[in-house]
């Protein structure tokens, strides 16, 4: 055990003396934060306050429109047609940011154009659309019905048909959360692949520079293999913790200092309508999805819960796949020789991500159920299921999946140890499948 630990520490030191590893440790989370930044920024882009001129030659709107209290948009009316060119170039209109065309046909074709000088932010666009639509709606009620505005809006409410799983009546499982689980699962796959390749390279390198013979005179092949997997795994874990630390700090900075507005739910309270109407109005609008994403990141995902499970499943999956990478490294003649055998592992890891995706789109299928128990795919599928929220009383399924994964890992490490022992001293030959079977027989 002491020797395995010494080997693990040496591997860890080697990783930390590697510039690329250190660079990835810092650049990895920065890259992810940058992606998030641009994602958030895309919703926050554009002009945040707008001076809007409404061209209403038919006088439909009677120079009335309710602007938001926060004064992000101020409206001005002109009772005449205004050509775009004139608006664009005319000196009198240079102070206006946008022109809205409301002609007499608007009541029939329900079509209006907003010509802006600078693309407004999603938030401002949302408010403008909403305020204009409400005003036109009021005009239509007045012209075509005898109903009061409130009556009309009551009738206008569509029947909200919500499909829900009988095992999840509160609809806790959702696509958005599922995708976050898939991201966790993808990170498992990414780290397993990146650090699995390190196991392969390190094993093949020790073999090709013959240090392995010196090492094996002090430790058993199984101890060497385990030490190597553990050391590289520790490097992976440290990297994960550093990534998590930086990403957490980044998200806090985003919330507090960079995008304080976008994360404030009161943003939407300026619109004096019920939540249902707001929901309905905003449906099919990307801003709504964006807002959901923000809420998802900051409110709905229990990161502590996810992170603990992520660690357990990552460690088990890493050792599980690490056994395969060790085998390839041990039977390889050179570092590059083993690359050909990596493809099947990449395919299997790709399948694991695909099954994770299936767990989102067809969460209750038998295929997904099996995939959540099969050790090759379970780490990703379980992360999706955990993010979606497990129905009450079904946590045992996660434990069962983890136990199967751990038992499979022990079995495969044992088998890998046998092949490793046989392969590691076979110098100067290319990797062949038959080496694996010879190792198993011996």
């Amino acid at each position: 055990m002491r020797n395995s630990w010494l080997i693990a520490l040496r591997e860890l030191k080697e990783r930390f003396s590697n510039g690329t590893f250190l660079l990835m440790m810092v650049l990895g989370p920065l890259f992810l934060l940058l992606m998030l930044f641009f994602l958030f920024k895309s919703g926050d882009e554009g002009k945040k306050s707008l001076k809007v001129l409404i061209s209403d030659p038919a006088g439909l709107m009677d120079s009335k429109i309710i602007a938001s209290e926060e004064g992000k948009i101020s409206y001005y009316f002109i009772g005449d047609y205004l050509e775009i060119e004139e608006f664009r170039d005319g000196k009198a209109y240079q102070n206006f940011d946008a022109l809205i065309e409301v002609n007499e046909k608007v009541l029939m074709n329900k079509k209006s154009f907003v010509f802006y000088r600078e693309n407004p932010s999603t938030d401002v666009k949302m408010q403008l659309k909403f305020q204009l639509e409400r005003r036109v709606e009021e005009v239509m009620i007045e012209n075509f019905t005898n109903l009061s505005v409130d009556q009309f809006r009551q009738i206008k409410q569509p029947l909200n048909v919500d499909f829900r799983n009988v095992y999840d009546p509160k609809n806790q499982a959702s696509d958005m959360e599922g995708y976050v689980g898939l991201v966790f699962g993808f990170l498992i796959v990414l780290f397993v692949l990146l650090f699995g390749m390190s196991i392969l390279r390190s094993t093949a390198k020790e073999k090709s520079n013959r240090i392995v013979e010196v090492i094996l005179a002090s430790v058993k092949p199984y101890q060497l293999m385990l030490g190597k997997i553990t050391g590289i795994g520790l490097a992976a874990l440290i990297q994960i913790f550093v990534w998590t630390f930086f990403i957490t700090i980044g998200l806090i900075v985003f919330r507090q200092y960079i995008f304080p507005d976008m994360f404030n739910p009161s943003n939407w309270e300026g619109i004096q309508v019920s939540a249902d109407v707001q929901q309905q109005l905003m449906e099919s609008n990307s801003a709504e999805r964006y807002n959901q994403f923000v809420e998802l990141i900051y409110e709905r995902i229990n990161f502590g819960f996810m992170f603990i499970h992520f660690l357990f499943f990552f460690i088990a999956a890493y050792y599980f796949y690490g056994a395969f990478f060790s085998i390839i490294g041990a039977i390889s003649g050179t570092e590059s020789d083993g690359q050909q055998f990596v493809l099947p592992i990449i395919i299997v890891l790709g399948l694991a991500v695909y099954f994770g995706y299936l767990a989102i789109v067809v969460p209750d299928s038998n295929l997904v159920k099996y995939a959540s128990l099969i050790p090759f795919t379970s780490p990703v599928v379980i992360m999706v299921k955990l993010a979606q929220g497990l129905p009450i009383g079904s946590y045992y399924f996660v434990i069962l999946s983890l136990i199967i994964l751990i038992i499979s890992t022990v079995v495969f490490l044992w088998l890998a140890g046998k092949i490793y022992k046989n392969g590691i001293l076979q110098f100067g030959q290319r990797a062949k499948i038959k080496n694996i079977f010879q190792g198993l027989k011996s």
Binding site: I7, R10, V212, E213, I215, A217
Partner: protein, 308 residues
Amino acid sequence: MLEIIDVSKSFNRKLALDAVSLHVGKGEIYGLLGPNGAGKTTLIRIINQIIDADRGTLRFDGKLMSSEHLRYIGYLPEERGLYKSMGVLEQLLFLAQLRGLSKANARKNANFWLEKLEIKDWSKKRIEELSKGMAQKVQFIAAIVHEPDLLILDEPLSGFDPLNVELILNELKTLKSQGKTIIFSTHNMRSVEDICDRAALIHHSKKIAEDSVWNLRNSQKNGEYSIRFSGNMIAFANALWTDFEMIDKKDLGDNRFLAVVKMRGNNQINDLLKALMGQIHIEVVEERIPTMQQVFMNLIGGKEAQIA
């Protein structure tokens, strides 16, 4: 110190060792000789427990050998290998700790040897920055840094210049004087004569000889004498007549010659001397003891020994 009893090993039905038994005494330098592919490295790997024997027993200090004994063994493999990107001292500390030394003792021993082999100034350098000879020294230190009782050296002199060969051979003699046991596998037969007490020859997976180096050489002598004389070569040849056979001769100039003569029948050295007396002036007469090179050649190929 080490007993190897009836050890056999096969790889994919190919016999690599066939019931080999050796006895390595405490404090001796034991030569493990044999042509390439004879099975020496396999035997060394079995002693180091890198691979398991199919049959046979190994005893270390009278006890059945186990992984516990590995810390008392030092190993320098024929195919040298070090972590190229690792520092010299760091590497020695790692390997010494793997052999059971504490970090403090590992550091103390490593520094001692680095100083002794004059590479202390390079202790912080990476292996890839060292010359081949320098790296060989580091590899040698790696084998002895944990103060093993049994040192197994597979071709320890390859890659060293003559100065460093001398240095290493002297170190081995010092280690022997400290009571360490050394198994020395080499193709350099002169070094076997120089430092080995006993030796075994392995050929085609089997041990074909094991004895003290002197006995091995002695066992291969075949009644040949080299005679340095001055006088007439024809008179010398006539004196030999049919009782002795001249198998080689060398003209040293100024009527001085070196001849190699073999006895025929029951003739002894005294008979030869009697026959030559009065015919020539004898300067030196010496019985020819085969070199280890000749012993090696005789035993594995039956080749005739050549004149030195």
